[in-house]
Symmetry: C2
Subunit: 481 residues, 2 copies
C-alpha cells in the first residue's frame, strides 16, 4: 500500500519567469542585472513555475546568474533539449540501443540534467568515477578541482552491455517505459561493487540502504557519457511545484535581492531546535553585516530509507512550520533537493554542500553526524559524529562555500523550549532523538511543550497513526512504499 | 627460523659526504650549486656513508637541494635531533609517559624522520588523517595540496591512553626497549579501524596482510603529534648502507649531475622484463633531450607479506643484476625505500610516487596493478590492474611528477628474450607470473633462457632451495620470519 497524505496548499499566484523578455549577455554586470518581474506570493511555499516556462528556464542557462557564488566549473549545466529539437532527438533516441532506468537512476538523471552536479554533464566515465572515489573531487580543464564526493554512475548488466555492442550512444528509457534521453559518446567499464561500497561508505557491512536498494541488484558494468534529457523530469506526485532547479533558485535569490543564502539540508521533520538554529544563523548573518540573508530550507526528495518520514509528509510538516510562524516565510524558500540519499556521512555531506553551491547558496549549515545513520550491524553510529563537519570544512573544491557548524540544540526542561545546549546546566537538557520522537508519535503521546509547533506535530502524529492502523506485521512493507 | 643470506658485496671505497665543508645558503643558485666531492666507486651498490657522516647529512636539511623537483611543501623534513641536543632530549623523553612502538611503527618513524612524507612532521593528527583518508591529499599553509594517500598513524591502546593522561608530549620506545624519540603537542583520537581499512583498501575482506599484521592487533586510539627522533633509525641487518635518506639521494643525483631521475619501485626480484623497461625508459628520456637520466632502482624495505621474497635476498638478487650488466651501474642507484607495504593498489601507488618526489625523482615508472595483490577471499585481482596508473595520473599533488606508464613486457618465445608484448603475434609471448617464477625455483627448474640473468636467478633458486629444506608443513611459518 502506498501512503499518500495530500498537501492542501493553495497556489493562489504563479511566478511567471518570462526569461526571453529579459535576455542579457553573459557579461552582465551583476550589480545591475536585469531580473524577471514575476507576480509574487509572499508564501515561499507557493513559488510555482508554469510547465511551459520551466522549459524556458532550462534552455537558457547562460541568461541570468546569481552573483553570490559561481556554479562549479563557472556555468550551470543544463541538459534539457530545447523544445525545437525534441522531436528529432526523440527519434534519434528511439533508434539507439536502450538502457532501462530504475526510479533512482531517473532521480540521478534529474539531478544531472538540472546542473546540481555541475560541471558533470552526464553519468560518470571511468576517469571521473575514479577521481570521485579516491579524491572526492574532479579536476576540470583549467586545472582546478571541483568537489564530487559521490560516484554518480549508471549500472548496466551483461545482457544490456551485449545489446549496446559497439554503439557510441544509447537511449535511456524510464521505469514507466517512456523515452527519457540519450547518453552520448559512452564508455563502458567494470562496476567494482565491493570497492565502490567500501570507499564510499567506509564499510561493507550488509544493510546499507542505498547499497541494498541500488548497488547489490545492479549490473556489473557502468556506462558513462554525455546526457541529454528530452523533457524536464517530473514526478506528478503533487510536489513538482517544489522542485526548483538550481537556475530557478538562483533567479529567486536574485529576485529577492538576497545578499547571503544559507542552505539547510534535511531529510527529517523540522523541530524547534532546527528552527532555533536557522533563525540564529540568520541573526548571525545580519550581525556580520548582511542585509538580506535568505534561508533555503531544502529537504532531500529522492530515495530515503524505509523508516524515514516520506517526502509528502515532510513537505506538509514543513509547510505547517511556516504557517505557524516558526520560520519566517518572507526570508525562507522551501524547495525539494531531488537527489537520492546515500547515508554515507562525511562523504555524502560534501555532495549535499556542493549541490547547494550550484543552486546559489554561499553558506551551508552543517550539524552533528550529517548524512549519518546507525551502523547496520553494530550498536553504534556508523560515523564519528564530528567527522562530517571536519571533512566538509577541509574538502577540496568547497573553499568558496562558507561552512556554518551547528551549535547543538536540545530541549531545555526549565525554559520549556528548544535551546542551545548549555553544558553548565547539562541536567536541564533533554535530547530527543528521531527514535524517541517516533515513539511519542506512535504511542499517541505529545512531545514536551515547545519541541515542535502543534501544526507540524499533528502532521507527524497523523502519519504514524496511519501506520499503526496497518497490521503491525506488515509495517515494514508499508514503510518501504 | 630466520633466513639470512649474506650479501657478499665488497665495500672498497666509501663516499665521504663532508657537508660542513660545503655549506651553502638556502638561496643557492641551483645551476651553480656547490656539491660535495666524495670519493666515488662506480658500482652504485657501493655507495656508502659513514655513520658519523650520516648525522651530518641528517642535521643539515637546508644545505643542498636538488634542482630537479621540489620536495612537497618546499623543504625536506628532517626530524633527527642535532647531536648537541641529544642528551637533553633523551632526558626529556625519558621523563615523559611512554608509547611502545612495534617494528612497523618504527619503520614509519624512519620514514617520517627522513622526510619521505614531507611536509608531514609526525604521526598524523585527526585533521591530517581525515584528509588522507577522504581526499588522498593534505592542504598546506599556502592553500595548495600535497599528495598523501596513506594514513601514517600511530595506534595506542586504552591503557596507554590512560597513562598518557593530559600530557602533551610522549616518549617513543622502540621494540627493543630503547628510547627512539618524542611526539610533541599530541592529539589523541579514535581509531575507527573498519572505516580506515575500507577507505584505504576498498575492501574489508579478511586476509589483507597489513591489516592482519598491523591494524587488527592495534589499539583503538590514534596519537598524532610532532616527531623528534633522537638518532637516525638503523636496522643493523647488513643493509643500512643502502638506506639513503631523501636528502642523501638528492645529493647523489646532484653529484652525478643528473638532469632527470626516474624511480622504479619494486618489491620483487628484477627480471629482464623489468630491465628492458628501465633501459627503454632511459632511452626515451635521452630521446626527449635529457643528457644524463639516472635510474633510482628503489626496492621497498619495510614490512612485506609472508610469501614475498625477503629484502636481503632481493638486495643480493639486485646486486647480481647490476654485476651481470643487465642494468648499467654508471647510471643506476640502488637504494632501499624504508616504507612498509600496504598492498593497497591505487591508494598506495600514490604514496610510492609521492615519497620519490621527496627523494628527488622527477619521473616515476608505473606498471600494471602497482601495489596490488590477489583478493584475499575471492579468485581475482583485488584491484583493476589499470586503476593504479589511472589514479596516479590524476592524483592531486602529483602534478609536478612525470608519470611514465609501463609497456607490458613478456617472454618472447621466438626471440628467446623478454620483449615488449606485440599483440599482432600474441601467441609467441609467455607471461611468467610471480607464482610461476616461484614454481620454477621451488622445483629446481630453470626459467626460459633470457628471463633473468643467471646470477640473479641463482640467488632466487638458492633461497627457494633453503625453504624447501625446511619441513614443508612449517613452510608458512618460515616465510613469515
Amino acid at each position: 500500500m502506498s501512503l499518500t497524505i495530500k498537501l492542501h496548499i493553495a497556489t493562489h499566484l504563479n511566478l511567471n519567469l518570462n526569461l526571453h523578455a529579459n535576455k542579457v549577455s553573459t557579461s552582465t554586470n551583476y550589480n545591475t542585472k536585469i531580473r524577471p518581474k514575476p507576480i509574487y506570493n509572499p508564501n515561499p511555499l507557493i513559488f510555482k513555475a508554469h510547465t511551459p516556462t520551466m522549459h524556458a528556464v532550462h534552455s537558457s542557462s547562460r541568461l541570468i546568474k546569481s552573483s553570490l557564488i559561481e556554479p562549479d566549473g563557472g556555468a550551470l549545466v543544463d541538459l534539457v533539449v530545447p523544445e525545437s529539437e525534441r522531436a528529432s532527438k526523440a527519434l534519434k533516441a528511439d533508434s539507439l540501443p536502450k538502457v532501462k532506468l530504475t526510479q533512482i537512476d531517473l532521480e540521478w538523471v534529474h539531478v544531472i540534467s538540472e546542473g546540481w552536479a555541475s560541471p558533470l554533464r552526464g553519468f560518470m566515465r571511468e576517469d571521473e568515477y575514479l577521481q570521485s572515489l579516491h579524491f572526492n573531487s574532479l579536476r576540470i580543464k583549467d586545472g582546478s578541482l571541483v568537489n564530487m564526493s559521490l560516484p554518480i554512475v549508471l549500472a548496466i548488466d551483461e545482457e544490456t552491455k551485449g545489446r549496446i555492442g559497439s554503439s557510441s550512444n544509447v537511449g535511456l528509457v524510464g521505469p514507466n517505459g517512456g523515452l527519457v534521453g540519450i547518453l552520448q559518446s559512452i564508455e563502458i567499464y567494470k562496476h567494482h561493487k565491493e570497492e565502490r561500497i567500501a570507499r564510499t561508505w567506509g564499510t561493507t557491512a550488509p544493510g546499507l540502504p542505498y547499497v541494498e536498494e541500488v548497488i547489490t541488484p545492479a549490473g556489473n558494468w557502468l556506462v558513462g557519457g554525455d546526457l541529454e534529457v528530452l523533457t524536464p523530469i517530473k514526478y506528478n506526485d503533487g510536489l513538482d511545484n517544489y522542485r526548483f532547479s538550481p537556475q530557478q533558485l538562483r533567479q529567486e535569490f536574485d529576485r529577492r535581492q538576497a545578499d547571503a543564502v544559507f542552505a539547510f539540508q534535511l531529510r527529517n521533520p523540522v523541530h524547534n531546535g532546527h528552527a532555533l538554529l536557522m533563525n540564529d544563523t540568520r541573526k548571525r548573518l545580519l550581525e556580520m553585516g548582511y542585509k538580506n540573508p535568505i534561508l533555503l530550507l531544502h529537504p532531500l526528495g529522492g530515495f530515503t530509507k524505509a523508516d524515514d518520514v516520506p517526502l509528502d509528509v515532510r513537505m506538509e510538516q514543513h509547510s505547517k512550520v511556516l504557517e505557524d510562524g516558526v520560520l519566517d516565510p518572507e526570508t525562507t524558500i522551501v524547495a525539494i533537493f531531488p537527489s537520492p540519499m546515500h547515508y554515507a556521512g562525511p562523504t555524502e555531506v560534501q555532495w549535499h554542500a556542493k549541490a547547494r553551491i550550484n543552486a546559489g547558496a554561499n553558506f551551508y549549515i552543517v550539524g552533528r553526524d550529517p548524512a549519518g545513520m546507525g551502523h547496520p550491524t553494530e550498536k553504534r553510529d556508523l560515523y564519528d559524529p564530528d567527522h562530517g563537519k571536519k571533512v566538509l570544512s577541509m574538502a577540496p573544491g568547497l573553499e568558496k562555500l562558507n561552512i556554518l557548524p551547528f551549535r547543538v540544540a536540545a530541549y531545555d526542561t526549565v525554559e520549556k523550549k528548544m535551546a542551545f545546549f548549555d553544558p553548565s546546566r547539562a541536567q536541564d537538557f533533554l535530547f530527543i532523538s528521531g527514535t524517541k520522537m517516533r515513539t511519542f508519535a506512535r504511542n499517541g503521546e505529545s512531545p514536551p511543550d515547545g519541541f515542535m509547533c502543534p501544526g507540524g506535530w499533528n502532521v507527524l502524529a497523523k502519519y504514524y497513526e496511519s501506520l499503526q492502523a496497518e497490521e503491525p506485521a506488515k509495517q515494514q512493507a508499508v514503510l518501504s512504499t
